[in-house]
Amino acid sequence: MYQYTEFDRDFLAARNAQFRAQVERRIDGSLTEDEFKPLRLMNGLYLQLHAYMLRVAIPYGTLNSGQMRQLAMIADRWDRGYGHFTTRQNIQYNWPKLKDVPDMLDALAEVGMHAIQTSGNTIRNVTADHFAGAARDEIADPRPVAELLRQWSTDHPEFQFLPRKFKIAVTGSPHDRAVIKAHDIGIRVVERDGQTGYEVLVGGGLGRTPMIGKVINDFVAAEDLLPYLEAIVSTYNVLGRRDNKYKARIKITVHENGIDTIREKVEARFAELKPRFTGVDQEMLATIEAQFAPPAFREAPTDAYDETYAKNPLFRSWCDTNLHPHKAEGYAIVSISLKKHGATPGDATGDQMRVMADLAQAYGHDELRISHEQNVILPHVHRSDLPALYARLKAADLATANIGLISDIIACPGMDYCALATARSIPVAQEIAERFAELKLEHDIGPLKLKISGCINACGHHHVGHIGILGLDRAGVENYQITIGGDATEDAAIGERMGPGFAYDEVTDAIERIVRAYLDTREGPQETFLETFRRLGADPFKAALYPKETVDA
């Protein structure tokens, strides 16, 4: 894992001292809110519906146990004893007091973390595949590059006032778990003639105008990546629209100018920039790469695992849903679900965070990941440790066996917290998860990604959910629009909107009707929801959603 250098520490200390003084001046009245707001946002401090909210970046979703424990300490000491993990691999504290925030930031700095650039029209937290460095299908660990990008983009003088916010995601696997096609820039590690390079996409994004990213360059050589990305952001900085907030993201720039024009401009800018990159970035990358060397995997028998798997059905069910193939023999990637049926998706209490930190230390080479799906991952666990690990997860109420199933719902904070929301999303997620737990159907249903956003900004990724739910305000009443057939992977697709929306108390029934339509029409348990949708289109689902009587009425 990357260790902060003296430079990183000094930079953070200076920034935190500066912000502490700004908070003091706001409290004593020498700064107005208009003056203070941009300053607090630069440090990740929002004002939401009921309180301030501090958004802390977890770069490329990677944490060690010390960092996780510190997040728990902060939750207990200055917040309400929990934290909310987001779809951008951040953690949000929902109840900080203004005067405590400088202390919270200092506590974060102690473990090499910060809230810088988690807001504003800057390059945000660089996200990555949560299975990075562990997945069996991986070409290369994407995190060294993500860390290089974090260093390059943090406080980058040219990119502090972009036309709009800017999100970058990186994956090292052909199977995309980082939703790179819905990012302003998506990067995929590729191999060509034995050389490692990067496929670069631009112009993806969700929100009001969802777009799938387009390939701007199918192979950027390793040493060209940073100048190439700088060329993209620099081109966008000049070309992007500043006259209309809704047209300011790079997806609109690409859409309006065409990918070919953008490519030409980027190439021209790249030609100017390339000579200025003297190779220092490559030296830095080499240093960073050394810090991401894989842990020393051990070779050990897996009998204990095999035995427990054979005789304990609960353990077996958990293994079948929550484990993923690891590149090292005898190892597994463990997903810890933060989606217990009826709980708030993505929330973990301070105690749970400490348990996960302890488990990472005891069984997981001291590594944890936060997924954009709002779960926690222990990327390197030897199978022989799984029975003990499972027992401790169970004791901490963290052993829900539902990864990838319908109750593993992504839900944004929605109207319960978010000042921009048009409807609630958390209680909708809670009710749907409880319904399917009662029906005991979710394992039979199989892989199904349900994603909920509380407004058109789409933080809950509803457009790319197999089933997406968007909460709207229709004449002063919550109303939920349903989409079907979205996909967040390498085959990314925007979901198709069904008919009229549903009232708050009708959504769960509507979702059940969709799922029953799938169960009735699939060609067998091996055909997933998405495959059935692709085979049959939207009609059977529309028919289930809007039975004839109600349409005619």
Binding site: L47, L49, H50, R80, K97, T344, D416
Partner: protein, 100 residues
Amino acid sequence: MPRAFTPKVITANALLEGDVVYLTRDDRWTRDLKEAELLTDEAHADLRLIEAERRVSEVVGAYLAEMKPGPDGPEPTHFREDFRRTGPSNYFHGKQEERA
């Protein structure tokens, strides 16, 4: 024809805690919507908002929120203001907890 003015209260977030507050008739900031001054006259409401906005070291983001008169004081007409009055629905945090 100009639209008839509908009743409102002045609301904001407290500077230090960030929680929802309302302006009372006697110029206090209260956490309890029932105590808020219900403004029924447009010119008076505008004036009260200007006064509230000046109190920059106490509150953030003062605005006029739509309300209706109720037996115990102003009541929200929109669900957003209802949440602001109560607190989140997933945990018993915020105002509902303070009042319990």
